[in-house]
């Protein structure tokens, strides 16, 4: 009957732009195909996304080479400056020259592992509306993006971390760790730093759900992560009170300064382990925070366009 067909027709575009299409994706959760929750399947998915992230980044070989060149140039410049501060046997921030060299060169290496620069993938997807596809998948978007980002970081360890360390080692004298547990502790600390960095980048991107455009927040992140993580200069150059504020009041030192301090054994053994525990605490604070903000964000999501 023509009358029936009329009543089931889609709403007019004007009505569609209103509340009608504002869906709460929290209610989409029961669609998960794998109930009851299967740990093995979850781990398998995480691994698959990790591998995908690794492979995705490994296709940009030319970009990796260009990045290495820039890392080496910056390495020489930053080390020259720090080395000049250590003239006349001074120990700026308590580091000797080999520790400074390691701080700079391993630092250049881990910059792209931790990835303290901007990352706008999620924000762009919010603006374009593509994020709906992410939310309909039977996996938490934070978990999915985290897996891919860790895959990216694993590729960066091979492609971006080794060469700057070798280059620095050829040109200058690096610090060789004395304690047996330092290297495994550094690996753990670097992993935690990457997770922290990702959680913060993800939070910045979630801001796009409110602002639609995360460029402003992204600029703030870029500034804060650059200075307060210790990529401009080791944070130990700052007055004691400023250091205390940064270490205990913000997660930023955990991105860069803590892994490097662990590696150059700047603090004693107890403090070395303590600083990694501090990173763990920040991870434990940030991950629940991310899920709460994400829930609030998806509840108010309006798909643009339509």
């Amino acid at each position: 009957m023509p009358g029936l067909a009329c009543s089931s027709a889609p709403p007019t575009p004007h009505a569609a732009r209103g509340r009608d299409f504002t869906m709460s994706f929290a209610s989409a959760r029961p669609l998960r195909p794998d109930r009851p929750p299967d740990r093995r399947a979850r781990l398998y998915r995480f691994g698959a996304l990790f591998g995908a992230g690794f492979r995705r980044w490994s296709t940009y070989r030319q970009a990796a080479l260009a990045g290495l060149f820039t890392n080496v140039v910056f390495g020489v410049m930053i080390y020259s400056l720090l080395r000049a501060l250590a003239d006349d046997g001074r120990r700026p921030g308590g580091y000797d020259t080999t520790q400074l060299a390691t701080y700079v060169w391993v630092g250049q290496g881990i910059l792209s592992v931790v990835h303290v620069w901007s990352w706008n993938e999620l924000a762009d997807r919010v603006r374009s509306g593509d994020v709906t596809a992410d939310l309909l998948r039977p996996i938490d978007p934070f978990e999915a993006f985290l897996a891919a980002d860790l895959g990216r970081a694993a590729y960066a360890v091979l492609a971006r971390m080794v060469v700057p360390i070798l280059a620095g080692g050829l040109m200058f004298t690096l610090y060789i760790p004395h304690r047996l547990h330092t290297v495994p502790l550094f690996v753990l600390s670097l992993t935690l730093g990457t997770v922290l960095s990702f959680a913060l980048r993800y939070l910045v991107n979630l801001g796009a759900f409110w602002l639609l455009d995360a460029r402003g927040l992204s600029a703030v992140w870029l500034l804060a992560s650059g200075v307060f993580a210790g990529t401009f200069f080791p944070l130990r150059f700052l007055p004691e009170w400023a250091q205390a504020v940064l270490w205990f009041g913000t997660p930023f030192p955990g991105l860069f300064q803590i892994p490097l301090d662990v590696l150059v054994e700047r603090p004693g053994p107890a403090q070395q382990i303590g600083s990694v525990v501090l990173q763990l605490v920040w991870v434990a604070i940030l991950i629940p925070l991310v899920s709460r903000v994400q829930r609030a964000a998806t509840d108010r999501l309006v798909i643009q366009g339509g």
Partner: protein
């Protein structure tokens, strides 16, 4: 020369950009503020450096602040005017440079107008205030020659950085994904110019300082303004050679740009 319509077309492109960038007001406001704050923090880095050491490469706080402020101002101005040329690699990769090539306007001014980044106004404002403050603090013994030098250096420095930006962007015509190489010379160049050339190892100093000419942006003019002799034995006329270096850099950059545009073959299937 150009008909009146052409200038209007560029102005319209810039206005359209400004309108589009200020569309998300709050986000834009945060962006401008953090840009301005960034300049302040970079200046504070110099103070932190002098917290742990009384001299850097044989220079005191006063001299280093002057070279740092000169370099930062020149860089920020260049970044505002042509910095977004680094997006050229995106145009080349996606093949969208075609749409710019077919329009009846010149390619380079069109790209600069289309990508004009208003938020960088915040940086330039902040770094000009900083430059004035540093010059007052440095208590310079003003002579007519030094006033001329002060007027000349930021403009020549800006032109030099702009040429470096352009040259760096041109890399994209041959190696699409290698945009980061340019960062070593642009952002790296700014870092280099902020501190005394005496701290750098010989090769880097020759390549960046006098090969690219970045020692003429901060180091040499600051020596001239503060009346400090060059510990490396450079002659005084070096401080005056920045306009010549900028002109030379622009000649090279425009030649490479022309070659690059002719080399461009678009993309896609």
């Amino acid at each position: 020369m150009a008909e009146p319509g052409v200038g209007q077309a560029y102005a319209r492109l810039v206005r359209a950009q400004i309108r589009s960038q200020t569309q998300y007001r709050l986000s834009f406001g945060i962006d401008v503020a953090s840009c301005a704050l960034g300049t302040l923090i970079e200046a504070a880095v110099v103070l932190v450096v002098f917290r742990v050491s009384p001299t850097v490469g044989g220079f005191g706080l006063r001299e280093v602040l002057v070279m740092s402020a000169l370099a930062a101002f020149a860089f920020d101005l260049a970044d505002l005017l042509v910095g977004n040329i680094e997006r050229l690699s995106t145009y080349v990769r996606k093949g969208t440079l075609d749409t710019i090539l077919i329009r009846p306007l010149r390619v380079l001014p069109q790209l600069l107008a289309t990508d004009f980044a208003l938020r960088r106004v915040g940086r330039v404002a902040q770094s000009s205030v900083l430059l004035v403050a540093v010059l007052v603090y440095a208590d310079i013994d003003w002579t007519p020659a030094r006033v001329v030098m002060l007027a000349l250096t930021p403009l020549a420095g800006c032109a030099l950085f702009a040429a470096v930006f352009l040259l760096g962007a041109c890399v994209a015509f041959w190696f699409v994904e290698s945009g980061e190489i340019a960062n070593a010379f642009t952002y790296g160049g700014k870092e280099f110019a902020r501190y005394p050339a005496t701290i750098y190892p010989g090769l880097l100093r020759r390549v960046f300082g006098y090969g690219v000419g970045l020692a003429l942006v901060g180091y040499q003019p600051a020596l001239f303004l503060t009346g400090h002799a060059d510990p490396l034995g450079g002659p005084t006329w070096l401080a005056w050679s920045s306009p010549a270096a900028a002109a030379l850099a622009w000649t090279i950059a425009l030649l490479v740009w022309r070659t690059g545009i002719r080399h461009y073959r678009s993309t896609g299937s």
